[in-house]
Amino acid sequence: MTSQRIEALKKRRKEELQITNKSNQSAYGWWLMLLALLFTGALFFFESSYQWVFPIGILLGLTLERSRFCFAASIRNPLTIGTTKLLQAVIIALIVSTLGFYFVQVQTIDINNFQISEVPGTLKPVGWNTVVGGILFGIGMVIAGGCASGTLMRIGEGFTLQIVVLIAFITGSVLAGVFHYPFWYDLFIEGREIVYLPEVLGFIPALILQITVLGLLYFAARRFDSRKKI
């Protein structure tokens, strides 16, 4: 919501900063889009297994950037300034992906007779390693100013400060994969059982339970959106 003084201020600043016609970057945009299309075409032509991943990734990145979405802010904002709009958006995204994965999974496997290893998606055992990993990631993401998706889309938009973050998380992942992931795997994950809700409860009850819990969390987030000043 703007006001008369702010409108006047905007006009004044426009003159002061001499913003007439900012140099147009559209040309770069069109060329890059052409390159992306050609690359996608090449991926399809050579029937690479990444043929859908690349264009969908580009579209997701555009969506994240235009809507100014931020996973890090969705978790951080409720705790620092009490706003939950982004958290509500993330919960909605989780509900949509629950439904999506439900459809993908029931189409792929025989729901009465399946092995967990056949189910599309990443299913791993949960444990204290998950908690500690989450805490470490949370600390890192607030200091870095974003998590992986936010950093990548901001670098794409032009905010090059976060290239440091990109280098850091590539280095970290490579070091982990090469050196110490097998150690943690053997210590915490090896031999533990994977709890997969649809196996325990059945597909439809698991779906209803998850969507109900997420829905309740969504409404709780709406209520929590504090009206008081922080």
Binding site: M1, T2, S3, R5, I6, E7, L9, K10, R13, K14, L17, I19, K22, S23, Q25, E65, R68, C70, A72, A73, R76, N77, T80, I81, T83, K85, L86, V142, A144, G145, G146, G150, R154, E157, G158, F159, L161, Q162, R227, K229, I230
Partner: protein
């Protein structure tokens, strides 16, 4: 009716928002705050918070990927 500048260029989330919070806390009703930032996540954050507090605001892109956010403080903290 003072005008304050706040330079948050090249700062990552959540620094611009925290700086704006502190600066606005010290300002009186009717003062204007001009915030310069180049982080698009801050725009969503700051705008959301400012509107909730009841202040008036608008923003403008002043360069490639740089924005200025204008906030007029409407309510004084008790």
């Amino acid at each position: 009716m003072k005008e304050e500048f706040l330079d948050c260029m090249h700062e990552a989330c959540p620094i611009p928002l925290i700086k704006a919070l502190k600066k606005l806390g010290k300002m009186k009703a009717g003062d204007l705050l001009i915030m310069q930032t180049d982080h698009n996540c801050s725009i969503t954050n700051v705008i959301e918070w400012v509107e909730k507090q009841g202040h008036k605001m608008d923003y403008m892109e002043t360069g490639k990927g740089e924005w200025e956010i204008y906030i007029e403080k409407v309510v004084t903290d008790e």
